[in-house]
Symmetry: C2
Subunit: 444 residues, 2 copies
Amino acid sequence: MHSSQQISAAAPDDIAMLTASQALQRIRSGDLSVEALARACLDRIAERDPQVRAWTHVNADLVLANARELDRSGPTGPLHGLPIGIKDIILTHDMPTQYNSPIYRGFHPRMDASCVSVLRAAGALIFGKTDTVEFASNARRALTRNPHDLARTPGGSSSGSGAAVGDHHVPLALGTQTGGSIIRPASFCGVYGFKPTWGVVGRDGSKTYSTTLDTIGWYGRSAEDLALLYEVFDRQPQAVPTIDLAKARVAVCRSPMWHHAGDATINALSNASRALREAGTEVTELELPSPFEQLVDCQVLIMRSEAQASFLPEYATALERLHPTLREQVENVDGYTREALCHAYDTAAHCRMTFDRLAASYDCVLTPSTIGEATLGLASTGEPIFNAMWTLLHVPCINIPGFTGPQGLPVGLTLTGPRFSDRRLLALAGPIGKLFHKIQNYGG
Amino acid sequence: MHSSQQISAAAPDDIAMLTASQALQRIRSGDLSVEALARACLDRIAERDPQVRAWTHVNADLVLANARELDRSGPTGPLHGLPIGIKDIILTHDMPTQYNSPIYRGFHPRMDASCVSVLRAAGALIFGKTDTVEFASNARRALTRNPHDLARTPGGSSSGSGAAVGDHHVPLALGTQTGGSIIRPASFCGVYGFKPTWGVVGRDGSKTYSTTLDTIGWYGRSAEDLALLYEVFDRQPQAVPTIDLAKARVAVCRSPMWHHAGDATINALSNASRALREAGTEVTELELPSPFEQLVDCQVLIMRSEAQASFLPEYATALERLHPTLREQVENVDGYTREALCHAYDTAAHCRMTFDRLAASYDCVLTPSTIGEATLGLASTGEPIFNAMWTLLHVPCINIPGFTGPQGLPVGLTLTGPRFSDRRLLALAGPIGKLFHKIQNYGG
């Protein structure tokens, strides 16, 4: 796997090491039971989670009972028997949902979020709840550590989901992104992470931070695994031609935030561009025109302005247990005006149209996922500076892992494209991921 | 009150006839207990609801216990003791939420929607659940009848909320609007109805139809009552100068849908314009430029496209109990493409900027609420043709009652304005409502 030493060695046939697609194939062929897969994941969690702390709730009895039920019923759907972790801001009828908030300790309404219902109907094995930054915001941190270096952050706010997949606890996990909360943990934990186009996945039962920005997505250890989930959520068929990298057109977009990039990211983007060119891909630099440079500020303004409504219930009922940063957002200590909010909405809308047009000339756009490797300590989950713009643009983003930085830790790059180009990006993520993996391992 | 005969006569001091603001004043002065107010509402419901059928759930014991608790605790907040009905697509921890869907019969997760938490914290008395069109969409109708003529629709989808306030069961009720689901019932039931600017009221725990469109709002029997609730949800202070109608500038916008207007609406808008002019108001015609005429189609396209994600859980788990129209939306029988969806998003965004600019020259914009009076039968809840554009524009809308049509039934007009002009509209709704009431009653 990665160059990290802290992920314990495992025999190549270790069941917990399988990707979702590999496990599914073995389950379908009768070579693996859902229960055996679940037990392998539970064993891995028992071994690793005392250090990694990805989970806030795993009920082994419930997991095994559901696994046996799936074995009894036989193939139930396209995700039959696949263990999936659920970020703990998303409701599950049979498990508590605690938002990493003292206000919601033991909170357990008997309902599934929309996305959890869809996963269950597709046969997924809802495995447990993964730790999150408080309310998927910038408040109280998850206890989760980076599985590649326990002294470092796994990123956030989907800290537990990124780490659980990166550390082979489960093959799949749901996350959410408002700034960079899916892509950053994916980059830091060395896994594939996907933020679909805004609106493709229903959000009912997932705690809102910002209606304009919040997007549900997921983690996997292969591009194929990301696509497997996508097909469950998006029923609108779309023919995607097979894209040969030798004939592809890729735009490299350093983005208006490039001056923030550290060595690991600079090297990754440079190596990726070279490898793509060597594979025959037409690689072009894409520079985004004004006012794209305003979008990072617009994202913060929209997020913190919409937080006023999102956290008003907690503010009104349990002020003393709400994190100060969230209190401040409800109180609008920033002094954001509604005129500024409308300006931010309108700037974003304008740039969405422009980006769709600009990106339509390419098969995909390649851009940084993070400043660099995961930073030391858990006090910061890292910067969303390379993600916020894309979240606001509502475009699909995939973190492709495969690079390592000076500390030997994972760094990924983001594939993006116009709104609703999800399937094309997912199709490209396979060959591009393989290419990145190859150059990293063979010094290409 | 209105000219209708079917609302039973009541002594002017009947407690159930009080507006929320009047009741609040009497509770605060010690002249009225919350329990006495609750009993008056329960009595009114017992008398009227067997015909009107506004409610799907009222637990009198729970209501009275909560009322007594509010009396014991003393003033708890700005809505202390005020009975409020909750549209039955909004979660309440102590009452079932059934969405008028056979899939959710008896559904009762123990959690409050965000807006219900805020109301409880403000001291409101959550009174019960009001009937709705299935999932606040265009599927199975509510059983509710128009209190002014039981043979007619109260409008929808917030059928029960509009009727409950119009028939004096409760002074306040929550509704939601995706097309015209707050304003239309307000017009048909002869009450004030308010759809705030999109985003002002948090939507967690309210079943989503369309993320881009859904807006939580409310009903009351005075402009003051609408403002009372607004102040609980919007904590961002804004100075609103007192506006003298004699110095006001009002734009009359017939809208690109004017050819749909019936006699009742044509007369109401004409009488309103005349009365405003006679009151000294500067009244101007506002014609909306292209592409505003596309917005009604854009609203339908966005609503039905976003429904694909919203009803996927029900489609995946209980297909046979999902209304055919919702199945069809999940299956995209319309064949809407994602290109068309992006075009609709972008057209709406463009028109939001234009409308804010155009409307900034006026104190408010006056426009039709409905085609005319409530139609016969319950099979149709009427057309949202005069509401859909404003919902998509995200602007605040207030239905001002006061007119009657040829059948002697209520017809209202809508006040609107730029995004976040909510407080200015609420301030204007008082004097404009009084003016309309006067001309209707004295033939001005």
